[in-house]
Symmetry: C2
């Protein structure tokens, strides 16, 4: 049961779904536990530590983007150096002093995505939206730039996201959205249509930026990126502008960014007003790893932050829980079942015997003490049923 807890916390309406978060899966730092009796304990601890450092900050993607004309040999050791450099950066020089001065923490996204407080679209400005709950002063500083906001924010233009809660429950549908768990279930590497609208046209050249983050507070700080396995598949770099991005948008104008400070990756597309007669504008997104990918998301649930931005000013923000899996239909069904167990569902067994439904529990029923006679043909059947009867009577 405890293994399933994490799944039972659908985001509460439009507020930050973080509040509902429970503890999650395993911590990636438990990795070293797997190495009982290692070649050399110390050696391995080192290995795993290295791995964790890399997965926290790694600049692999940047390395991989290097075009063909370079030396032709890779020095992956440089990654480790990058990591240390990065840490220094954090402590010494916030990438842009502009960000440090004028960004509003609740709308902070990346150093080049600043919320000007003079704009009318500040979070306190929109009464129709759940106002953000009290934020302790510490969080208001730029001290933790690695955790992007996940507070939903409609903004002045009425930015909204919409998932057709369509697509069958079928185990094999490429994607399906659960309105009851408020979560998108989607297969890996398939495009999934996501719709947006505003009630007022945002300024021209506005964009929608999409960025994945871990849902659990335990991991929000960690950057979401592809696992080495899937990252290594796109190595050729010929097929995609930013091959090792976890989140893609099928749009010729899609722009792939990796924030040099936080090293978080995002995709942005120009916001287009819906065609006449259409309420929503649809973009096609694809997720390039499973939620379960070892060495990547590693079974840690994520959400995607969709932000309407104009010149690095955040005009609106929507957050979508996403699970990337092999059987969206199956997994949706089981999540929903977990949250709304059907009446009289039995813990385990029994109901699988199907054909009839036996109640379980201590409630006494009509006829509980009556005595009946069963005529059975066959010795073996008789013995079986006898044992069964004894077991049943023991239970009652």
């Amino acid at each position: 049961m405890s293994q399933e807890d994490a799944k039972c916390t659908p985001p509460s309406g439009s507020g930050s779904s973080f509040i509902n978060d429970k503890s999650f899966d395993r911590s990636s730092s438990q990795g070293s536990d797997r190495l009982s009796q290692p070649l050399s304990q110390e050696t391995f601890n080192q290995l795993w530590t290295t791995l964790e450092e890399i997965s926290d900050h790694g600049n692999l993607t940047q390395i991989m983007m290097q075009p063909l004309d370079s030396s032709g040999v890779a020095d992956l050791d440089s990654r480790k150096n990058c990591i240390e450099m990065e840490v220094d950066q954090h402590q010494i020089e916030p990438k842009s002093s502009l960000a440090a001065v004028s960004s509003s923490p609740n709308h902070y996204f990346s150093p080049d995505s600043v919320m000007s407080s003079s704009k009318p679209s500040d979070n306190s400005a929109d009464p129709g939206e759940t106002p953000p709950t009290y934020i302790p002063p510490l969080q208001q500083s730029i001290a933790t730039p690695t955790v992007p906001s996940t507070t939903e924010y409609m903004g002045d233009y009425g930015f909204e996201i919409y998932m057709a809660s369509s697509q069958t429950f079928s185990k094999a549908a490429t994607w399906t959205y659960s309105d009851i768990v408020k979560k998108l279930y989607v297969k890996m590497a398939v495009t999934c249509p996501i719709k947006f609208k505003t009630h007022t046209s945002p300024p021209p050249d506005s964009i929608i930026r999409a960025m994945p983050v871990f849902k659990s507070p335990e991991y929000v700080k960690e950057v979401v990126k592809q696992c080495p396995n899937h990252a290594s598949m796109k190595v050729s770099g010929l097929d995609h502008p930013f091959p090792s991005h976890f989140l893609r948008c099928e749009n010729i104008q899609a722009r792939y960014t990796e924030d040099p400070t936080t090293s978080r990756q995002s995709v942005s597309v120009p916001y287009e007003n819906p065609q006449v007669g259409t309420e929503y504008i649809t973009y096609l997104y694809a997720f390039m790893c499973f939620t379960s990918c070892v060495g990547g998301l590693n079974r840690r649930p994520i959400q995607v932050i969709f932000q309407l931005e104009k010149d690095n000013v955040v005009l609106g923000r929507r957050v979508l829980d996403v699970r990337i899996c092999a059987c969206p239909g199956r997994d949706r069904k089981s999540d929903e079942k977990r949250c709304h167990p059907p009446p009289k569902q039995i813990k385990r067994g029994a109901s699988k015997t199907a054909g009839f439904q036996m109640s379980v529990g201590s409630k006494r029923r009509k006829g509980d003490d009556d005595v009946y006679t069963l005529i059975v043909r066959g010795r073996e059947n008789y013995e079986f049923l006898l044992k069964m009867k004894e077991a049943l009577e023991l239970m009652s």
Copy 2:
């Protein structure tokens, strides 16, 4: 049942266990099937093809060995170039003409590991060993150097391997050897003692070379290497002489080789005669991926070839089936059960109900037509048993 077939073919004694091989799991080229509704079908097919090429020949390990003093950025695209170069090599210039001339196919291992036919240790020379079965002329040429021999060969020195069939069945033991399935079950990244002996001391400076190969004929040609995930963990290169090797030997004198022609990786250690009073010499080996590793072994069973060599002449060869998994005890147990199903084992269900054993099948038994009376207390119990009885009578 068919999913389990492959597991039920223990190698038949000391002969090539290839003969018993059945079809295996899925082909890795089915990868593209996973991408239903991809971003762009063509693009993805390309991706997967690239991946397969890489996993077949990829020079990643070489690239990763590049020391820190290089440019500091990696050009992983160069891998693809390497691949093509490699293919050319195969067709144009066999690495050493010596190998092409004097190697005996059955003892062929790698271009620098040649079987001199003047040596007394030729395969035809030892009558105590199963002589290799007829080999069609085509295979005798050096045309398929990518498939190392897996024929066991005791040789003049009486080379033997020995696995203590010790270690509990316990689900958590780090390794266990099944004498009935003739397979080693071992956790990933833990050292496992493997013992060798000869009846006569081999010449000084003899070595034992260990090389993993896929067991299935379908995949033998493919080089066994670590999955990108696990390979990327050792990236630092500080911890191990050849960090991305799949097979390691805990021995200061271990030498890690990657054959430039076949790009197969192997570890060799100097052969040492057992200590006085000891029959065997023990080496510690470790496997750095699961048999199930996606992008690596990918659930394809492997075996390890242990070859006694002296100056690239093969003096003996032993082959060991190995499964690297999280629960060696559990998996051994289930493999053995598959091969020797306990008498009266029921396909599914029933036996799980424990406490009594019901036979299944159509054999008529004593008492099959007798009629018995069962007195049942409780309406619900009665109804349950009634249904049960009806079902049972339907079955008989």
